[in-house]
C-alpha cells in the first residue's frame, strides 16, 4: 500500500466503513483486552506486568494484547485497524504518543493472529518481519495454549520493536 493512500487501492476501504462492521464491539481497550475470554485472571495479571515492563523501556509506546472472536465477514487485520484508531485505551502513560500503539490481536474463532502498530513504528515495519515475530507461538496456538503462545509472541514482539527502533533511527538520519 502506498504510504499516503487515502483508501485501499484494492477495495477502496476507509476507516469509516469499518465502524458499521464492528459497531457491536466494545471500544474500550483494556490491557490486556481479553474480549474472547480465553485468559484466566492470573494470566491477565502476568500479561499486564509484561506490558508495564515494556512501556518502561519504551516510554513513547503503549502496548496491548487483544483476544477476540470474529465472524466470517470480519477480519483480524481490519478489526485491529479499527480498534487501534477507534478504541479508547485505558491507563496509558503520559510519555506515550498517540501514534505509538503496539497491539497483538488474536482471533480465537477464525484462528488468526496479527500485529498492529501505529504510525510511529510503521516506517520501518514489514509484513514478513512481524510475521516471523509471531511464528514462534504457532505450536502453542494449535493446542489453544493461549497464555504460553502470548508469552512467546510477546518476547518476539519486544525484540522486534527494538529492531524497528534501530531501523527507524537509521531511516531518520
Amino acid at each position: 500500500m502506498h504510504l499516503s493512500a487515502e483508501e485501499c487501492p484494492h477495495c477502496g476501504l476507509v476507516l469509516a466503513q469499518l465502524d458499521s462492521l464492528y459497531e457491536d464491539f466494545d471500544r474500550t481497550v483494556r490491557r490486556p483486552h481479553d474480549a474472547a475470554g480465553v485468559l484466566r485472571v492470573p494470566e491477565r495479571k502476568k500479561v499486564a506486568k509484561w506490558i508495564s515492563r515494556a512501556e518502561r523501556a519504551f516510554p513513547q509506546l503503549y502496548f496491548s494484547v487483544v483476544t477476540c472472536s470474529l465472524q466470517d465477514e470480519q477480519n483480524v487485520r481490519s478489526y485491529g485497524f479499527w480498534l487501534m484508531n477507534r478504541g479508547e485505551f485505558q491507563d496509558i502513560q503520559e510519555s506515550a504518543v498517540k501514534e505509538g500503539c503496539v497491539m497483538l490481536v488474536i482471533d480465537v474463532n477464525r484462528k488468526e493472529v496479527c500485529l498492529q502498530v501505529g504510525y510511529l513504528l510503521d516506517g520501518a515495519m514489514s509484513e514478513e518481519g512481524s510475521f516471523d515475530t509471531l511464528s514462534g507461538g504457532h505450536p502453542y496456538l494449535l493446542e489453544c495454549n493461549f497464555m504460553h503462545a502470548i508469552d512467546v509472541m510477546l518476547g518476539g514482539v519486544r525484540k522486534y520493536v527494538k529492531r524497528l527502533r534501530r531501523k527507524s533511527r537509521r531511516l531518520a538520519k
Partner: protein, 349 residues
C-alpha cells in the same frame, strides 16, 4: 761402497761436533806445584774432605774452647702437631679444644669444619656454594659440620652461640648445625633483626624441606650440598618476609601512631585499619569487572528506548496507525508458518 761412504760422513760429523763442544767448555782445573808436591808426600788425600765425617774447623774455634764459654741451650717452640685437626670419636660429645675451635670466636668463613671432615675438593665446592648464596642473598648462612653421631653440649646450642659470638651483628643471619650423614638431626637458627617475627612453623618447614632434599641423595657430601642448596632457595622467601616486615615497621599505619582511649577513636581506628588491608590487585580487578558488568546490566535493563519523531502520514482515515503485520493462521495444523509466509500481500482485508 755406500756403507763406507756413510761411515765416513758420520765420523766426520761426530768429530766436528766434538771439536765444537770442546771449544765451548771451560778449561779444566790444573794442579799447582805445591799441591802436587803434598800429594806425592801423602799430606793431601784427594777427596779426603768429602769422605771423612770431621768437618773442617774454622780457625777461631780453638780459641773459643780455650776460653771455656758456657753454651746455653734455649727451649724453642714446639712444632705444630698434626693432632690439631684430629677428629673426635664418631659418637663423642664435642669437648676440649674443639669447643674453642668451633665456638670460640666468630667464624671467618661460612663453613666451620675444624675437624676437617670434608676433603679439600668438597670443602672448596661447599665454600663456593655458600659464597654464591652470599652474592645473591643478604642472609648469611654459617654451617657448622659435625659427624654423624656427635653431640653438641647444651650450652652451645645455636641460640647460645649466637648470643655469645654473633650478638654484635644486628643483621639477621642463619646458623646451621649439620651432622654429616644425618641431615634430619640438623639444628637451625634464624636470628638477628626482625627475624623473631618470622612464624616458627615457616622456619620448621624450611628445615624439614632442606633435610628432605638432602635425604634424596645417598652420598653424604651430596646430601650436604643438597641441604645447603635447598636452604638457600627457601631462605629467599624468608628474606621477602623480612623485607615486608622492615617496610611495615618503617611505615606504621596511621591509626596506630597515636593510641587513643575513647570509643569513637577506637572505632575510627578500626575502620581506618580495615580500609588499609592490602588486597591483591587481582581482587580489585575482579571486583571492578563484576561491578562494571553489574552496572552495565542494570543500565541495559533500565535504559529507555525512544523512537525518532518522524511518524508516517495518515492512511485510510486512521489517526493512530494503519499498518498491520503478516497474519499468522493456526486453523490448519498442516499449514506451518513457513508455508504461510509465501502468501503475503495476496489478500489485504
Amino acid at each position: 761402497m755406500m756403507n763406507s761412504l756413510l761411515r765416513f760422513l758420520v765420523g766426520l760429523v761426530l768429530s766436528t761436533m766434538s771439536l765444537v763442544m770442546a771449544a765451548k767448555l771451560p778449561p779444566l782445573p790444573v794442579w799447582n806445584e805445591a799441591d802436587k808436591a803434598r800429594i806425592k808426600e801423602g799430606e793431601l788425600v784427594v777427596g779426603g774432605g768429602l769422605l771423612t765425617t770431621e768437618a773442617p774447623k774454622p780457625a777461631g774455634d780453638d780459641t773459643a774452647q780455650a776460653q771455656g764459654v758456657e753454651v746455653i741451650i734455649e727451649a724453642v717452640e714446639a712444632k705444630p702437631s698434626l693432632d690439631e685437626y684430629k677428629q673426635l670419636e664418631a659418637n663423642s660429645v664435642i669437648s676440649g679444644v674443639h669447643l674453642e675451635r668451633y665456638f670460640g670466636k666468630k667464624p671467618e668463613a661460612h663453613l666451620v669444619d675444624p675437624q676437617q671432615m670434608l676433603s679439600m675438593q668438597e670443602r672448596i665446592d661447599l665454600k663456593y656454594a655458600l659464597d654464591m648464596h652470599m652474592e645473591e642473598s643478604e642472609l648469611p648462612i654459617y654451617v657448622y659440620l659435625f659427624d654423624l653421631a656427635q653431640k653438641v653440649p647444651d650450652d652451645y646450642s645455636p641460640k647460645k652461640v649466637y648470643d655469645a659470638v654473633f650478638k654484635e651483628n644486628k643483621d639477621p643471619l642463619v646458623i646451621v648445625y649439620y651432622f654429616i650423614g644425618a641431615p634430619e638431626r640438623s639444628d637451625f637458627l634464624l636470628a638477628g633483626g626482625v627475624s623473631d617475627r618470622v612464624p616458627e612453623w615457616q622456619v620448621k618447614e624450611l628445615l624439614w624441606n632442606a633435610a628432605h632434599k638432602a635425604r634424596e641423595q645417598s652420598d653424604v657430601f651430596d646430601q650436604l650440598d643438597g641441604f645447603v642448596g635447598q636452604l638457600s632457595m627457601r631462605l629467599f622467601w624468608v628474606e621477602e618476609i623480612l623485607r615486608e616486615m622492615i617496610v611495615d615497621s618503617a611505615n606504621p599505619p596511621v591509626g596506630q601512631q597515636a593510641p587513643s582511649h575513647s570509643q569513637a577513636d577506637k572505632l575510627a581506628g578500626m575502620l581506618g585499619s580495615a580500609g588499609e588491608i592490602e588486597l591483591p590487585m587481582l581482587v580489585y580487578w575482579i571486583s571492578g569487572g563484576v561491578l562494571l558488568i553489574g552496572v552495565g546490566g542494570v543500565w541495559l535493563v533500565r535504559r529507555k528506548l525512544y523512537f525518532p519523531e518522524s511518524p508516517s502520514p495518515c492512511r485510510l482515515g486512521g489517526q493512530i496507525g494503519a499498518m498491520s503485520g503478516g497474519v499468522l493462521s493456526y486453523r490448519n495444523r498442516h499449514q506451518p508458518p513457513s508455508m504461510q509466509r509465501e502468501q503475503f500481500r495476496k489478500d489485504f482485508f
